[in-house]
Amino acid sequence: MLKRWIGPGALTAALSVLLAACGGAPAATAPTTAPAGATTAPAGATTAPAGGETTTTAASGEPIRIGAIFDLTGATADVSTPYSQGQKAYVEWKNANGGIAGRPIELLSQDYAYDVAKAEELYTQFVGEGVVAFSGWGTGDTEALRPKVTNDQMPFISASYSAELANPENTPYNFLTAPTYSDQLVIAMKWALEDWKAKGNTEAPKFAYLINDSPFGRSPLLDGTEFAEANGVATPLEVPSPRGATDLTPQLTQIKDSGANYVFIQNVSSPAALAIKNARSLGLDVQFVCLNWCANELLVKLAGADAEGVVGTIPFSPTGPGAEVALNYAKEKGIDFGGADSNFVQGWTAMEILVAGIEKTVADGKELNGENIKASLESLTGYDTGGVTQPITFTATDHAGSKALRVFQIKDGKWEGITDFMTAE
């Protein structure tokens, strides 16, 4: 008797849920009438600065929407989570400090689990809800969204610094807030060559890559290899580390056999830390150099004492007055980002740069649309991020806002700057 009821009952329940979704969601996704409940408005947005509200006219008091996708549960969640917290915290902080000319910013954000299809769905949804700019995350999804971003004229920053995105001829609405992965690798190699010479070696060193097996991992390799060969280094060995691997000994053995002196890691912190620990137990004596996404405090936390001496190219320095504002705000609000200072500051600063473009558009009295925000961003010259990055400059022909970074090294469990700002030139 019961069984007879379960089928129709479950179906009716499922149908009613679906109907509820169909009934509720169109309203929630309509561009003009998104109810507050359907958005992830940070607390700051709902408590928009009262002072700002009164000084502006009623029409302009409505929030400015920015869309964002983060990887909170997927393959790169370890670094994306602090990055997302940085972006959300910046929006909150900005709103508490008057917003954009009195208008609050509303950040529509959601986890996409490093899944390209999910990223597309969320992008479409947020665009439908009237966002004026977008903050993406990975290389794969940023690439996949390229045609849509261009078509929708949607100013887009992302945490992917693939060199392909820096040329406005192909990607007119993508902006890079950090040196491209290619530049980062070349800077890392420049440091390695100097370091090798400083150690009194005369013959050329040997390089190897240990990378995430994805577009993100492979993005800088061609440019890096060209630079290495131009400087008399043999073609570096390319070793992909499989996603979700729990032991990288086979990959490291391959590197050991190649006799590499410097290993450049283009991956996120967790697999990088695993590689460094495995290398130690394998007795592999190489200098690891981490690019952006593994050069952070998480690496130190995960690899512990084994991380000592690892070098990293950190495009967003977690020191300096700009970083202090972010970190102090986090402390004040009790935001726990797992000690990943540099990723938190990175998210904060990336959002700050995007907002700077929007702010400039508003200040110039222009309508908030993609074209105007793009023009405003392109006219940013020497935007000061408080020492987190070199001053940011976008032009109509170059969307790589920052060309220089400092090389850091882990000393006594802390990242310490060992060079001044370097460029790939």
């Binding site: 849920v17 359907a38 958005t39 909170l72 479409t124 439908g128 690439e143 045609p147 061609l222």
Partner: protein, 361 residues
């Protein structure tokens, strides 16, 4: 009240929809399909197009798994073949999609038949592993193919597949009519037409000799062989047909999205398609559509609920992404516990319940 199914003509016996309620229902569905894009916004069009493509792919897989009983974990690989064939033809040869998509389907069918060859000797789990190999080989080829081209030409920057392959918008052309303007709206018609054709094909396939042979192989391959079904031929045919339709789904996705990368065709996607047909209903064409819709709408629904919830309970917001993933898994498990035969069975139960009410025995 009806006491049974009676037909007085051969035409009546062969009709796909012999009763009036069924005809009214199909008319309603057609009307909704025709009216929907005029009212749906971009988000809904995107969602429905995604479901449409997934449904085509799921029907393709159901032909192989549900009807012929050959397990395949390489479905996403065959979709990749279709997507990359049409993508390369559009990008390098400048062919419009109405020419390149059929070519892509045929190529995918060929590749599917090739990888289907082990099915003659292998069954069940062993075949699953053989198709898993197909999946991995195809993805390996897509990720490392550039290396082969680079070694062959000596040009290190030579790009064939690339990390991602952009499809020129000019290729989005159907019989000389360029698809311009609202991409989601235009592709709705392309996708829905392909879906209708696929549904008609699949529904009729299993009323033909070939289709019945496939079903016979699923039910008992030795018995099928004894009554004269050529196992090798029909198993390969099933693989080819299934891959042909997978290729269609992949090719449509390529043109709709405008850019493709191997990341869209990983083993996760193969498993997603398997779960679609298991949840929708193995061996059912409509079940494939229900399954595709369920597996596309459920995550979107959960994501919307989680967004709504994070507005109400900000303190809770940090945990929502994990709960969302857990809820997805839970929903699937509950579905399988309460109706292992899939959504299509639930729909049937519901119809029976109302048809026989109040004497439901």
């Amino acid at each position: 009240m009806q006491s049974g199914t009676f037909h007085s003509t051969y035409a009546g016996d062969m009709a796909l929809r012999p009763y009036w309620p069924m005809r009214i229902r199909i008319i309603l569905i057609i009307a909704i399909m025709l009216l929907f894009p005029w009212f749906g916004n971009r988000y809904w069009l995107n969602l429905v197009n995604t479901i449409g493509i997934a449904a085509i792919g799921a029907i393709g897989l159901n032909i192989l798994v549900g009807f012929t009983g050959q397990i395949s974990i390489g479905h996403a690989g065959f979709m990749a073949v279709g997507a990359y064939t049409t993508g390369l033809l559009a990008a390098h040869a400048g062919l419009p999609m109405w020419i390149s998509i059929p070519i892509a389907c045929i190529v995918a069918a060929g590749v599917g038949a090739l990888f289907g060859m082990p099915s003659v000797r292998l069954k069940g789990l062993y075949l699953a592993i053989a198709t898993l190999a197909a999946q991995e080989i195809i993805i390996w080829f897509l990720t490392k193919g550039d290396k082969i081209v680079q070694m062959a030409t000596g040009d290190r920057r030579a790009v064939f597949f690339g990390e991602s392959l952009s499809i020129p918008p000019a290729a989005n052309n159907v019989f000389g009519i360029a698809l311009k303007g609202n991409n989601d709206f235009n592709f709705y018609w392309v996708i829905i037409t392909c879906l209708v054709l696929t549904v008609l094909f699949a529904s009729n396939l299993f009323r033909s000799r070939a289709g019945r042979a496939m079903v016979a192989i699923r039910d008992q391959d030795i018995a099928a062989q004894v009554i004269g079904v050529d196992l090798f031929k029909y198993k390969l045919l099933a693989f080819a047909t299934s891959s042909f339709i997978a290729g269609l789904a992949g090719a449509l996705m390529a043109h709709y999205r405008g850019i493709i990368s191997w990341e869209r065709f990983t083993i996760d996607i193969s498993i997603l398609y398997l779960s679609m047909i298991i949840i929708g209903g193995l061996g059912s064409v409509s079940g494939s559509i229900y399954g595709a819709a369920f597996m596309t709408i459920l995550p979107a629904l959960l994501s919307n609920i989680s967004r709504a919830a994070s507005g109400v309970m900000p303190a809770f917001a940090n945990y929502l992404p994990y709960i969302q993933q857990g809820a997805f898994g839970l929903a699937i498990i509950l579905f399988l516990i309460f109706e292992p035969e899939g959504i299509v069975k639930m729909w049937r139960n519901l119809k029976d319940y109302f048809r026989l009410w109040p004497f439901s025995y």
